[in-house]
């Protein structure tokens, strides 16, 4: 006969295994959300390859963000609390498709409505509508100039 202690242990084990398999394997059902945040270049932001996280967003990093978006690097929406939603589709278009919509909003602070998914610690969003666009609100070039420096405007060659 199993003791009460052993029954509890087996129950906890079964619950842990079930919980683990759900979080690790099962797809997450999407839910509609509205978020406010800045469109960012996620590679430079998370990797630190161009500098710290404040330098790799806003106006200082605008040209580099264009390069990365055109290069197919995931675009994200960074909320004021530092959470980032990886954009999988934007206003009905595929994120990597050769359209300009995703280019036009780089570094802008937007209010987006869309379908949210979460898996393995990451937030993903399919942006179905841009409810508001405040443009570029983080004037990071005032502190950081152009990041990276070779993304600064150049005089045309004569």
């Amino acid at each position: 006969m199993f003791s009460t202690h052993l029954k509890s242990l087996l129950g906890a084990a079964a619950l842990a295994v079930a919980s683990t398999s759900q979080t690790a394997i099962a797809s997450t059902a999407g839910n509609v959300i509205e978020i406010k945040g800045e469109i960012i270049d996620t590679w430079c932001y998370f990797s630190g390859v161009m500098g710290d996280t404040d330098a790799t967003r806003g106006s200082a990093h605008h040209t580099c963000a264009l390069w990365c978006a055109a290069g197919g690097i995931p675009v994200g929406v960074r909320t004021d609390d530092g959470d980032v939603y990886m954009v999988l589709k934007f206003k009905g278009e595929d994120a990597l498709e050769q359209t300009d919509t995703i280019m036009e909003v780089q570094s802008d602070f937007i209010t987006a409505r869309g379908v949210h998914y979460k898996r393995d610690g990451l937030n993903y969003i399919v942006v179905e509508d841009v409810v508001a666009n405040d443009g570029i609100t983080y004037l990071s070039h005032e502190d950081y100039d152009s990041v990276p420096p070779f993304s600064a405007p150049k005089k045309p060659k004569k």
Partner: protein
């Protein structure tokens, strides 16, 4: 005897569950990835299935993983985690979709760097440097992006790297300037920084 076996099985299940959820597994053994000195960088050699991330999450599954128009990832064999592959091996602002696409819904071995993870976003991303079909032959360098760009942009002639000639980038710079604050601001910046 039965009591001891059941106890051992329960403890083993708890340990297994804890190790999977903790996500602290070390995949660096055998990796030949080059270091980039990035935030949270860890070398990682692992196997898994290439997936269209939106398909994996939602069931919205176009043919051939979206033909390069979707962000792709890898569901890692060891722990069934969905790994977002953010970057390829090239150093000029290139994503990874072109390097993963030939292996859509197939098993691969990949070598590269797990990167990132901050106080808010508790997850790392992958930079793929080497890829091959699972268990088969030599690894191939993940450097397909610029070849694909050249094929898509035959009219983008001239010298310099792709990002100086890309029509979508040039169009946006002409419209909003380098800081996104207008072309007049660019002129002001140039005048002040002569």
């Amino acid at each position: 005897m039965l009591h001891k076996l059941a106890t051992a099985a329960a403890v083993a299940a708890l340990v297994l569950a804890t190790s999977v959820t903790a996500g602290a597994a070390d995949f660096s053994e055998g990796s030949k990835a080059k270091a980039w000195n990035l935030y949270g960088e860890e070398k990682a050699l692992f196997s898994g299935k290439v997936v269209d991330i939106l398909c994996e999450l939602s069931g919205d599954c176009p043919a051939n993983c979206g033909d390069g128009n979707r962000q792709l990832g890898i569901v890692r064999d060891a722990d069934s985690k969905l790994i977002l592959v953010m970057k390829n091996r090239q150093s000029s602002f290139n994503g990874a979709a072109e390097d993963l696409l030939p292996y859509c819904n197939q098993k691969v071995d990949v070598d590269g760097l797990m990167v990132g993870e901050d106080e808010v976003v508790k997850a790392k991303f992958f930079q793929v440097q080497l890829i091959r079909p699972q268990g088969e032959g030599k690894f191939k360098k993940a450097t397909q992006w610029t070849k694909a760009w050249k094929a898509k942009n035959p009219d983008a002639k001239g010298k310099g790297p792709w990002f100086r000639r890309d029509p979508r980038v040039l169009k946006q710079l002409a419209a909003d300037g380098h800081f996104g604050l207008g072309v007049d601001y660019d002129q002001q910046y140039l005048a002040e920084n002569e």
